[in-house]
Amino acid sequence: MLTIGKLPAAPTAPLFKRFASAIGEHLLIAPHSRLFDLPPDFAAALDRQEEEPLQLVAALAQAASGEEALEKVVAPNPQSLSLNVSSSCNLACAYCYAGQGAFKGAQPSPMSWEVARAAIDRLFATADAQAPLTVGFLGGEPFVNRALIHRATHYAAEAGAARGLDVRFAVTTNGTLLNKNDIELLRAYRFAVTVSVDGGVELHDAQRPLAGGQAGSFARLCAALGPLLADPGLALVAARATVNRRDFNLRQRFAAILAAGFPEVGFAPLRAAGPDAGALHDEDWPRYLAALTELAEDERARALQGANIRLTNFAVALKQLYRGASSPYPCGAGGGYFSVAANGDWYACHRAIGAPAYRLGDNHGLDEMRRRDFLTSRHVHAQTACQTCWARYLCSGGCHQEATQRTESACGFVRGWLEFCLRAYCELSAHRPEFFSADQYLGGQQ
């Protein structure tokens, strides 16, 4: 991985977070997310800011063998690509970041086969053959352009196999347009299928109306997706629910989505959207935190009894804490991940199609200077607000697209949620250590 620059952490940036759980005192070392159980006297000495424990913390914060220094700005080869195959959608959700796929006119027409193939070829030409590759499909509603998804999937699978590449697929869909052939495709390949479903029938229909404004999207979703949920084949299906400020009853939403047959559900609060879409305000974040932790408490209790965790946000957080996930970036945007617009331009992020600052290349190659500038400016050490935060390598500043909406209250939610997860992790790992040695917690995507 090529290091293209360095951004040292602020000298005053906190190196650790002290916390306690039901099993005792703990220490999170911020760099590299190391977690330790502390003897009570050491914990007390650290709380008194004594020199010796502080020196030990500083030593523990150093990179271990095989770990990448966090101040590095690295430019890995692109390993994941999303293709914005469609420029329209059969739903009309008020908060859609993509403007139903047209991206405010930046993507007026759907992607052609030639553009998709050139993007896949480009990805395969430079990707690291030792690691998995992902080809994703986004839109608009991607299945509006189903012919391209089918063709591109077959092509990528065959071309990847010929090169000895481990190619995987991803699609984010509203699920309403899936037909039998689509489901066969998703079953036959290793697809991560993320379905946008916000809750039960009433809430979902209200938040995700059909393009004409009518209700009925939930019923269509259930009808179209039912066979895949019943028999997913190689696909991994998960629900993703957008939460706006009008309804924080996550328990009810969670139960309704599980009842529809989904194995797991993740929630995403609406941070950035148009004026009437219901983005969370400062006063909403404590309410959202309370609702999410309430739900996570339920799942923790289940996990202590030996059941699996169905709340994706919680399961992912636990997995990352177990592994010690620690990154100066919140996602792979501009690094290992790019999103290709219908015209073949490569953007750092699928939410930024049409945004000049995020356009870093095209199917012919990347502009490495623009990429360096992007990666440097988005490094967590370049985010002033993150320089005083212990959670900076877990949150990494949050979604680039939503960074402008970052407020102290929104950051307070992130820290509150992580504190809950840290406590839960310590307790679960003490009582159910086998939970964290399962294969899914050691490999796969973060």
Binding site: I29, R34, P39, L60, Q62, S65, E67, G324, M369, C426
Partner: protein, 571 residues
């Protein structure tokens, strides 16, 4: 917290475990192989060598087979292993027929049952000796001229041209079965010059000399690794004694291990050394040698003390000055090189002087490489477009004392001048001190590539320092009047035609370098090549400088009346 209380932190996640299993990474530059070290930098040879035994490469000459090259009366080598996963991958990729893979499978199955397979015939392209088919019985016969046979099995296999088809006849010894296999002679290195993946860790070193056996006593080859030399400075007590003999080299194998009084200086005559059984019994008494001195305590590397520059502008200023210093020392080294007599050397001094000349030329070429590196780093900083190459000659170079400078001054290779060269290249001081600050800055804010290139300059500087000490030793054995054209050799008078030719080529060189550096690669490759041609050979600076020297003048380069190449002052 009490100092006596052991602190026990229990790791609670994988990241905490990782830290516990990893030694504290050095927050400083430590002595050791430079980042530019490659396989061929090591001391490898075709006998049990010091760092790798190149014979082990040939163990993998044939695809998917590992062999022991042991000649018997009927065979060239034993087959010891088959890479079946590799065979299966080749079959899956359509690169191997089922029939061929069945042969590999047969051999593999037999080896698992301790049945022996040997290679009894080898057919292929043996480099300059051409296509041949060889059996072990061919080696004993006289063979001369074009198309002669290689002398032995290992040499034959070593001569096989990489990538060319090789056919072997393999034979199972009992019950006898013969099979013919054809494959391309394997590549030992990958596209990056690293060892091919087929080699396992330790495979190239598995047959090295064992350093703690009495091989030390008998080996007459005198090229032991630097930490097991023939002679070394004795261990340094603490505090160091005020005795100059502490810096006199002694026999490393001396039988008397006492340090009081200091061991007797090493002499060419055989001294009392440990005997074989004593080495076996007292191997721990043989001290490790680091930096030329025996060491009794854990090695403490020098602390890297370079302080980073405060701003990118300050870094750029110092990089431009560093480029100027490279050019300035080049002027001084070339003046010294061409002050040495090419002919008319007294008996006994010719080899030493020729060695000094060769090394001065090699160091000078190294300085040109440094000039390129500094310009590459500057170009990669993308401060201006187009890039303005750094080709101004430093009017003064860093002195040994921090903050001190001395004027750039081309002079003959007198002992006092060589002494100044040694000071100039001394690690951590002078020029190296300048680069230490540059490196410290790049470690904070530069790229890996920038860091590594500067490290390579520093590593070479250390090597230049050692070489100048050798030059000092070689020339020190002779009278300066014997090897110098003249101790106070003077530059040519103005208008001297030979001098003018030299200046003309020098200016052309600077212009080519400017154009080449400015365009970068690949666009500037033609200019870089042209610059190289302007330096070496009879038609280059080398030829012109030799002509000036033959005429009895000091080789100097005039200030060029062009702001791009004008003198640059130290920051």
């Amino acid at each position: 917290m009490s100092q006596q209380d052991p602190i026990k932190l229990i790791p609670r996640n994988a990241a905490a475990l990782r830290r516990g299993q990893s030694q504290v990474s050095a927050a400083r530059l430590v002595t050791g192989n430079s980042a530019a070290t490659r396989l061929e930098s090591g001391v490898g040879n075709c006998f049990p060598g010091l760092e790798c035994d190149l014979r082990n490469l040939e163990r993998r000459f044939f695809p998917f087979l590992e062999v022991d090259i042991v000649e018997t009366t009927v065979s060239l080598a034993n087959i010891v292993a088959v890479d079946m996963p590799g065979v299966q991958s080749a079959v899956a990729a359509g690169q191997m027929t089922a029939a061929l893979s069945a042969i590999y499978q047969l051999i593999n199955n037999d080896l698992a049952q301790n049945r022996r397979w040997v290679i009894e015939q080898l057919t292929g392209t043996f480099g300059p000796l051409g296509n041949q088919s060889l059996r072990v019985t061919d080696f004993g016969l006289p063979s001369i001229g074009d198309g002669r046979r290689p002398p032995d099995a290992w040499t034959a296999i070593r001569m096989l041209t990489e990538g060319t088809p090789v056919t072997i006849i393999a034979r199972r010894v009992s019950p006898t079965v013969r099979r013919t296999l054809t494959g391309a002679r394997a590549r030992y290195l990958d596209d990056n010059g690293a060892l091919a993946k087929m080699f396992s860790p330790g495979e190239l070193t598995q047959s090295l000399c064992s350093p703690w056996t009495h091989d030390f006593r008998d080996c007459g080859c005198y090229y032991w690794a630097t930490n097991h030399p023939d002679i070394a400075k004795p261990p340094l007590p603490s505090p160091p004694p005020d005795d100059p003999d502490i810096n006199v080299e002694v026999s490393w194998l001396r039988a008397n291990r006492s340090l009081t009084p200091l061991p007797a200086p090493a002499t060419p005559r055989e001294s009392a050394e440990l005997r074989h059984y004593e080495i076996n019994a007292q191997w721990q008494a043989l001290n490790f040698v680091l930096e030329g001195r025996e060491s009794l305590a854990p090695y403490q590397p020098g602390i890297f003390s370079g302080e980073p520059f405060a701003t990118p502008a300050e870094l750029e200023t110092h990089l431009r000055y560093a480029a100027g210093v490279e050019l300035a020392v080049l002027h001084e080294y070339l003046a010294a090189l061409y002050s040495l007599k090419l002919t008319g050397l007294p008996a006994g001094s010719a080899e030493d002087v020729m060695a000094a000349q060769a090394e001065l030329l090699r160091i000078s070429i190294g300085e040109m490489r440094h000039l390129r590196i500094v310009n590459d780093v500057l170009a990669s900083m993308r401060i201006t477009t187009p890039f303005v190459p750094a080709l101004r000659v430093a009017a003064s170079v860093p002195g040994v004392q921090p903050g001190a400078f001395r004027q750039t001054q081309p002079r003959p290779a007198r002992p006092d001048v060589i002494e100044e060269f040694i000071a100039l290249e001394q690690p951590s001081l002078s020029v190296d001190g300048l680069y230490a600050k540059i490196l410290a800055t790049l470690e904070q804010s530069g790229t890996d590539e920038q860091e590594q290139t500067i490290r390579s300059i520093m590593s070479e500087g250390e090597e230049h320092f050692e070489t100048f000490k050798f030059i000092q030793e070689w020339l020190g054995a002779h009278n300066p009047n014997d090897y110098l054209l003249a101790p106070n050799l003077a530059p040519p008078p103005a208008g001297n035609a030979l001098h003018q030719t030299l200046q003309q080529r020098y200016r052309a060189l600077l212009q080519q370098l400017f154009d080449g550096y400015q365009q970068g690669l690949p666009a500037g490759a033609a200019n870089i090549n042209a610059a190289r041609n302007l330096m070496l050979g009879a038609n280059g600076i080398q030829g012109a400088a030799e002509a000036v020297a033959r005429a009895g003048f000091l080789v100097v380069f005039d200030t060029v009346n062009d702001p791009r190449f004008a003198p640059i002052d130290h920051p």
